[in-house]
Symmetry: C2
Subunit: 299 residues, 2 copies
Amino acid sequence: MKKIIHAVPNFSDGRREEVIAEVIKPFLNTPGVKLMGHFPDPDFNRTVIEALGEPAPLKKALMEMTEASVRLIDMNKQSGDHPRIGAQDTIPIFPLQNITLDECKEFIEEIAVDIHKKFNLPVYFSGENARCEERKALGFIRKGQYEGLKEVVHTDERKPDIGERKLHPSAGAIICSAGIKPLVAFNVILDSNRLDIAKKIAKSVRGPSGGFSTVRAVGLLFEDRDQVCVSMNMFDFEKTPLYRTYEFIKREAARYGIGTAGTELVGTLRQEALVSVAEYFLQLEDFDRGQIIENHMIG
Amino acid sequence: MKKIIHAVPNFSDGRREEVIAEVIKPFLNTPGVKLMGHFPDPDFNRTVIEALGEPAPLKKALMEMTEASVRLIDMNKQSGDHPRIGAQDTIPIFPLQNITLDECKEFIEEIAVDIHKKFNLPVYFSGENARCEERKALGFIRKGQYEGLKEVVHTDERKPDIGERKLHPSAGAIICSAGIKPLVAFNVILDSNRLDIAKKIAKSVRGPSGGFSTVRAVGLLFEDRDQVCVSMNMFDFEKTPLYRTYEFIKREAARYGIGTAGTELVGTLRQEALVSVAEYFLQLEDFDRGQIIENHMIG
């Protein structure tokens, strides 16, 4: 069975079609690598790439992608609604098949060293590669964003993990990480336009304010449908499955006499995230994942 | 993308380990073919094989399997609880990837001709290959089973579709078919030991007595757990999804004050049969199957 890594790189352009096409190109042209999708967001001015690949060709594609981002995106001119510190802002990877987290950690360290060497980009490590507790999540690393980081990058607290204590003059810096599994972005839409209620429920479901420890959530208004939404990042769909947050939100909303209008899954997710939902609602006993025919077609 | 066929051959031994090992061996030894599982049932005295393969190697494996069944199983001595007319009783196949139903129909016709030529087995066609309406399902073809068929095989009504009007002296006959999709075997277990209620609910859910047209069902007692079960064969999980029969049975059982204790899926099924369940219960909107990471790993 082949070793396969899942990569979800984010770069800081979600508006210029020709730039986006150039940055994603390596994932289309490299045998052994597959582009599952790319999701440009003009408001965020940022594009998420979803890709799979065997280690060697994936490394090649990630290097070429970074070369294109560094060449085409000038952080001194870039702006958007999403926090960022560099042109090729993040490269998070996850083990997918026949590869361990440790191997992925090593893989991304090698890429980070090469990126610094070739493009003179300073590197921050997060996730399982973080050098200290506070760099595990992105919030602290991104504090002040590109503009703010430029001012404090020389301090002990904010210095890069690889490279000198200064940013690349146009491409800023990059965050590299390996993690055990990618987050699932799950929106539960309420049959109501009361944003205050969506915010209250978001607060109740997210870990830091007393909810599920693996969940982060905000309340949002979807203007086009005049409905509010509890928008979640679920960081561990095994410890906290989708059905649990769904049922929880349904119950909390019922307290206000509000029903759930629908849900959305944004981006990709593992089959298991949905199989566990079916298993729960059907009260399925002793279900072996080998019973799914398609699981025998993966090689 | 490779052409892949799903085959679910049944042969008439579920007791003798050495016979079973010999009959399934071609699926273990043939490159381009994958054995997903095999399920011997000693009471039925019958084994179900679940396999996948590209057409040419799959044909090779199916021929070798049939050779072993014909050589090792004597229908004059065989007995069991499951209806059967021959040693290699059935070969049903289904298109799985990049292949049409018509191609599968042609594929199984070729195999049937070869089986008759090589082993002198008479062949009946069922499913989409049936030569007349009444041979589409297995009931009519199997009426009287091996012993009874021997007496009537010379009649116009019961004569084989390929071969003379007589059975193979030890191996009986074989039923070959292609179909659009395999059935899903789904058991809903009730928190009760009232077999009369399970039978009533089975009657209400199955097509012939007024229920779902794609569903067949019986009520059974599971003695080991002292609970009854509505045991279904669901012939089209897309037209009649799993969640619909589950919710229906739950509702019917509630009328007697009985809850559902659990469910079981027997054998293999398509991923879609479970994804549609998750989609339903989560009220999921616009979910693209390409969002499932594993679906990009199938080649």
